[in-house]
């Protein structure tokens, strides 16, 4: 059995930052493995540990600078990695879910996985739509926002919990092959061991252009164009207490006493 896990490097922005045109100035940005993808990788590695003959392959859209982030997934137990990049993707600007899914579907077509796991969303652009778009392109079944997964390989069914709003979960049986978008909390992602980190260095990380996976670069055009980026105006009218921690704590204590909060 083969599991394909989509893995993305996301940008985390510092507390204080400056915007430079349509992007946040590089100085205030740190690269990280997308939080939701960490849970997806862990889910895949746990399936691999529970069954014989399971291969876990990661797929990433991103330039070579993302290799270090991808190695994190390899260090946590993925077997090999695929990264797709191309000038055409660089030029496309804002990649919409459809464009991403198109690329990932081409990777999946080559790999022919039995199960695809993605994160629910990415922490930076937060579209939350790539996984289900990918499923539909692959004509696979899917489940979004999965926070519990029980695989019955013989029956070909994934019994999942989908986490709805308000503390309610939906229990659903999904035919596999399927794409599941994985929610945080489904498991407890492991830290990479030193051994894992060492092994990751020698695992395969294949780089493909669009042509390599059978896509025409001319067909890559995102219909979404980012036209501005700005810090949202705060509508907030918070009274901010100023001073040393002792001073601000005193003010807050007084406020709380006023509101009738005391032991």
């Amino acid at each position: 059995m083969k599991i394909l896990v989509t893995v993305k490097e996301v940008a985390a922005v510092d507390d204080e930052f400056e915007i430079d045109g349509l992007a946040i100035d590089d100085r205030y940005v740190t690269a990280d493995l997308n939080e939701w993808d960490e849970y997806a990788v862990e889910a895949a590695v746990q399936i691999k540990e529970a069954h014989d003959d399971v291969e876990v392959v990661t797929a990433t859209i991103g330039p070579s600078e993302t290799d270090e982030t991808i190695r994190q997934a390899l260090a946590k137990g993925a077997d090999r990695a695929i990264r797709v990049w191309d000038d055409a993707l660089d030029d496309a600007g804002l990649l919409d879910p459809e464009t991403k899914a198109q690329v990932l579907a081409a990777v999946a077509a080559e790999e022919d996985p039995d199960l695809v796991l993605t994160g629910v969303q990415s922490a930076d652009d937060g579209f939350g739509a790539t996984g289900v778009t990918l499923a539909d392109k692959l004509d696979m079944e899917w489940g979004a926002v999965v926070n519990d997964l029980d695989l019955d390989l013989e029956a070909g069914v994934a019994s999942v919990h989908r986490e709805l709003e308000g503390g309610v979960e939906e229990l659903t049986d999904i035919e596999i092959p399927a794409v599941l978008t994985i929610q945080t909390g489904i498991n407890d992602p492991r830290y990479a061991s030193l051994r894992g980190i060492r092994q990751a260095q020698s695992k395969e990380l294949a780089e493909y252009s669009l042509a390599d996976i059978g896509l025409d670069a001319a067909g890559i055009e995102s219909p979404l164009e980012q036209t501005s980026l700005y810090e949202p105006e705060t509508e907030g009218e918070a009274t901010v207490f100023e001073g040393s921690p002792e001073e601000t704590a005193t003010e807050l204590a007084e406020l709380l006493a006023e509101k009738g909060v005391t032991s």
Binding site: F127, T133, D136, G167, T172, T227, E231, A238, V240
Partner: protein
């Protein structure tokens, strides 16, 4: 040049976003000079249809299939409806279920999809406003297409309350059963803990800023000093540091205490969804740009590891 908004319901009730979409949809329809359609699929469609008949709605389409949400059925029905009505903008909720069918529908209709939109405008082509990096930045996006699919963030638009005089029409969809490859087995309530955080008058709520499980001690100490209840943001619950039923937010509990003290919580939209109705909101956070300060009444922009112990001292 019309707009079609797909309603959402669960366990016999329309979800508020269904009526918020009508506000967003009416504005868009006015800008486009066209009609606003809405549709409800499954459940008691007659009752839902009557409920959706609000001011500004031209037609309510009812699709009498199934009881609860099933994404395979929704995907087929919405694709058929949108093909027939050919709306310029297809609106769907940016809810967990919305995200479980909207991308498939957009893909089948070959329309661009813009999700989690907080503002939208159709005056000069379609322009959507979205948030990035956990609400730290906002962006506008031009959609270069004649028709689009959009999911709107819940609680960003008002609900339309006034009754309308829409035409109510039943829509006959054809379901390809062989393409229904998922079965909803039921629902489960999360929780089972011994405390109901929705009952608390004062909540001391803690987020990822606490860093380590051991550090939670000061939060429990503070809660004890204030005779308050401890709740938290999602990462703490994911880590197993607090019980599941202590989670505040979209997928956790909605709380409305007299005082909500958010400590080391950034104020992500899914968290805010659960606590914005609190009477008095206090935020302690090192990041002066954290979105939690947008909804806080009082704030301390400082290190919780210094402020919380100082606060405990004040009460001892």
């Amino acid at each position: 040049m019309s707009v079609l908004a797909i309603a959402e319901h669960r366990r016999g009730e329309l979800r508020p976003v269904s009526l918020e979409q009508l506000a967003a949809g009416r504005d868009l329809a006015d800008e486009l000079g066209g009609e606003l359609h809405t549709a409800v699929i499954g459940g008691d469609v007659e009752a839902f249809g009557a409920e959706l008949n609000r001011e500004g709605v031209d037609t309510v389409h009812t699709v009498d299939i199934g009881e609860e949400f099933n994404h395979d059925v929704y995907t087929q029905v919405v694709t058929q409806l949108a093909t027939e009505l050919d709306p310029t903008v297809l609106l769907m909720p940016n809810s967990v279920n919305g995200l479980d069918y909207a991308p498939a529908v957009a893909n089948r209709l070959d329309r661009p999809l813009v999700t989690d939109v907080v503002d939208i405008d159709a005056e000069d082509g379609l322009t959507a406003t979205r948030e990035l990096y956990g609400s730290k930045a906002e962006t506008t996006i031009d959609v270069h297409a004649d028709q689009a699919a959009v999911t709107i963030r819940p609680a960003e638009w008002p609900t339309i309350e006034a009754d309308g005089d829409a035409a109510i029409e039943a829509f006959d969809a054809t379901i390809d059963e062989s393409a229904v490859r998922s079965t909803v087995k039921g629902f489960e309530e999360v929780g089972g803990g011994d405390i109901d955080i929705t009952d608390a008058d004062v909540l001391v709520s803690v987020g990822r800023g606490i860093e380590e499980e051991e550090n939670l001690d000061i939060i429990h100490d503070l809660a004890e000093a204030l005779d308050a209840t401890v709740s938290g943001s999602r990462p703490l619950i994911d880590n197993g540091w607090l019980a599941k039923d202590r989670q505040v937010g979209q997928s956790g509990k909605v709380v409305t205490p007299d005082v909500y003290i958010a400590i080391g919580i950034s104020g992500a939209v899914q968290h805010v969804a659960g606590m914005k109705g609190s009477d008095t909101i206090v935020a302690i956070n090192t990041d002066p740009n954290a979105p939690i300060f947008d909804i806080a009444d009082y704030g301390i922009q400082d290190d919780l590891f210094e402020v919380v112990p100082a606060l405990i001292e004040q009460f001892q």
